[in-house]
């Protein structure tokens, strides 16, 4: 059971609502539930995570029962049900990446950030976690950073350090754009 950390009602900005409308338009009449996953991605990109009020608002927009949204949000691993660091570094932890050092990269991240998997650094900037295969096995070790899932390949400890520095320096600016 979730500990509700935010109870403030959520209002979606017109820009977000315009995106929702565009998404709903992709499906046949009456099949608007199909829009649920893409809309949840948009909401998460906007707020950083999926709070209960945000999900309830999505339910009301799509005329679903709130439980239908919770069921979906808790099934898929990309949806954050708790606030994360501004940058969530997701390192592939599956076999092929481990053959080329993914476990070392995760240890290094833990060491550098000083937080365990799933925790947020004190400055609110970083979280990290191991995730399952990101389908980039030939370019491992790899990590990705949402909301656009910017991808970093062939990682080494040095590259991770460089990335962390860059992220820290850019922290005030816009979210990362696609493709590094």
């Amino acid at each position: 059971m979730l500990s509700v950390t935010q109870n403030e009602p959520v209002e979606f900005a017109p820009t977000l609502l315009a995106k929702f409308a565009d998404i709903v338009g992709r499906y046949p009449e009456g099949r608007h539930k199909s829009a649920l996953l893409p809309i949840l991605h948009e909401v998460q990109a906007h707020f950083g995570w999926l709070s209960v009020p945000a999900m309830d608002q999505v339910a009301s927009y799509l005329k679903l029962e709130p439980i239908e949204v919770y069921e979906v949000a808790t099934f898929y691993t990309m949806y954050f049900l708790q606030p994360q660091g501004k940058y969530m570094l997701e390192v592939c932890r599956t076999g092929p990446c481990c053959l080329v050092g993914a476990e070392r990269i995760m240890e290094h991240l833990e060491d550098r950030l000083g937080v365990k998997e799933g925790e947020v650094t004190a400055d609110g900037l970083f979280s990290w976690r191991g995730v399952e295969c990101l389908a980039a096995c030939g370019f491992g070790p790899v990590l990705q950073i949402g909301p656009e899932y910017t991808f970093y390949e062939n990682l080494t400890e040095e590259k991770v350090d460089e990335l962390l520095t860059n992220l820290k320096n850019n922290a005030g600016s816009q979210p990362l754009s696609a493709n590094s």
């Binding site: 992709r26 046949p28 099949r31 539930k33 199909s34 829009a35 649920l36 996953l37 893409p38 949840l40 991605h41 799509l62 069921e71 979906v72 099934f75 898929y76 691993t77 990309m78 949806y79 932890r93 599956t94 076999g95 092929p96 481990c98 053959l99 080329v100 995730v131 399952e132 295969c133 990101l134 389908a135 980039a136 096995c137 030939g138 370019f139 491992g140 990705q144 949402g146 909301p147 656009e148 899932y149 910017t150 991808f151 696609a178 493709n179």
Partner: protein, 452 residues
């Protein structure tokens, strides 16, 4: 050099744009199919090509198409499976990133063949950059009159949309994918009914892998018979192989089916040999779910014949001494790799990705992971290996979808071929925590191994 059908122009600068793609002959297949062929003729060419589904199951694509129900007044759908998540497989990401129009073109041709007016490309949500690339490519194609109403003046209408997943390997299973596309949890459906009869929104639906759909382009351009000339037996055409692990040149390679495994690993055209001068210990040929083979069974079959990169040859020996083409996720292990650790890692993957709907998979995958974890960390016992094999048998074949089998095979095959390495983790608990078992006899010529 082997023939390239999908990646021929991969190194052409700007091939990801419509302009360059068309300069290089792109969208000829759309012109040809829509202007000169009936939908049934397109299906016929794909049948003649012998193309087998490139997502992992290897079911003939043309036959799958011919099963599609066509009731009057009911829409039909083509859904492209871009949920690439099988460990070891990254060819679809590669294709979508660098030649997105190959997929768009294939989608138009295939949708036309199936009579679909709306088609979806379901891409795993983590591939957001690829989703953006595809959206851009679709917009380009639409602006050029290749999508939308009355394509190229032929009267055929098609809308194409990209749908992101939410992070779930199981959505690569076609009915789980359809559930997810309908905005639900990715629980696989019970079959029958099959999607060909009742798929997306209850309508007849075909779900095809990214590579399969892209492969229809050369099939239509050059004809199914021409495509079928490449390859051996029922393994026709070219196949994208994702090569990873301890090799000199990991990456995506387009092979003509029939290349010997040994050549694929050692030739400079492909993997370029084992990295860092190490020795070859084991291979997973088709993504993490297929049986792992020790070096000596990887390059040669139990009969001593050269093992080839074909559906038939990789499967030669069945589950006793063979493996499977699967999705073409080719993972190479060098002598420093621990098979116990890797098996635990794969078991953890399937445990993590089980949807939890049916009991053998929900409970069994976690059980296997726990036993393997115990073995890997030096707390196992000799009876664990038999227990693992037994649990894997309790899962295999008894689940709603193939994830159960996919979780069982890597465990059962690792114990079948590397049992002594597992036993060593029990007999040498402390040593197993500081060093690996090494190559042992796994690359020895086959004969002594079979006798022992």
């Amino acid at each position: 050099m082997a023939r390239k059908l999908l990646l021929a122009n991969i190194n052409v600068p700007g091939i990801n744009t419509l302009e360059v793609y068309r300069q290089k002959g792109g969208y000829r297949a759309v012109e040809k199919a829509l202007k000169t062929m009936t939908p049934d003729e397109v299906v016929e060419e794909v049948k003649k090509s012998g193309l087998r589904g490139r997502g992992g199951a290897g079911f003939p694509t043309g036959m799958k198409w011919s099963f599609l129900a066509k009731p009057e007044g009911v829409p039909r759908y083509l859904v492209c499976n871009g949920d690439e998540s099988e460990p070891g497989t990254f060819k679809d990401r590669f294709l979508m990133t660098y030649i997105p129009h190959a997929l768009i073109e294939g989608m138009i041709v295939s949708s036309y063949a199936l009579g679909a007016k709306v088609s979806y490309i379901y891409v795993r949500g983590e591939m957001m950059p690829q989703i953006r690339i595809l959206e851009k490519a679709i917009a380009e194609a639409k602006a050029a009159g290749l999508l939308g109403k009355n394509i190229l003046g032929t009267g055929y209408d098609l809308e194409l949309y990209v749908q992101p997943g939410g992070g779930a390997y199981i959505c690569g299973e076609e009915t789980a994918l359809l559930e997810s596309l309908e905005g639900k949890r990715g629980n696989p459906r019970l079959k029958p009914p099959f999607p060909a009869v009742s798929g997306l929104y209850g309508s007849p639906t075909v779900v095809n892998n990214v590579e399969s759909i892209a492969a229809t382009v050369p099939i239509i351009n050059d004809g199914g018979e021409e495509y079928a000339k490449i390859g051996i037996e029922r393994s026709t055409g070219t196949k994208l192989i994702s090569a990873s692990g301890n090799i000199n040149k990991p990456g995506v390679y387009e092979i003509e089916l029939g290349v010997p495994v040994e050549e694929f690993i050692y030739s400079d055209e492909y993997c370029g040999g084992i990295a860092n001068g190490k020795r070859f210990k084991a291979m997973v040929a088709g993504g993490s779910s297929v049986p792992i083979l020790p070096a000596n069974l990887a390059t040669k079959t139990a009969k001593g014949e050269s093992r080839l990169m074909t559906y038939e040859s990789l499967a030669d020996g069945g589950f006793v001494s063979g493996s499977s083409m699967g999705s073409g996720g080719f993972i190479v292990f060098d002598e420093d790799q621990c098979i116990v650790r890797n098996t635990w890692n794969f078991a953890r993957f399937y445990h993590h990705e089980s949807c939890g709907q049916c009991s053998p998979c929900r409970e069994g995958t976690g059980w296997m992971e726990k036993i393997l974890h115990r073995l890997e960390y030096g707390h196992g016992s000799f009876s664990d290996m038999d227990l693992l094999v037994d649990v894997s048998k309790k899962i295999e074949g008894n689940t709603i979808c193939p994830l159960g089998d996919a979780s069982a095979w890597p465990v059962a095959s690792a114990i079948r071929h590397f049992r002594d390495e597992f036993e060593w983790h029990v007999s040498n608990r402390e040593e197993s925590q500081i060093r690996n078992y090494g190559l042992a006899h796994y690359a020895d010529p086959l004969e002594p191994l079979v006798q022992s």
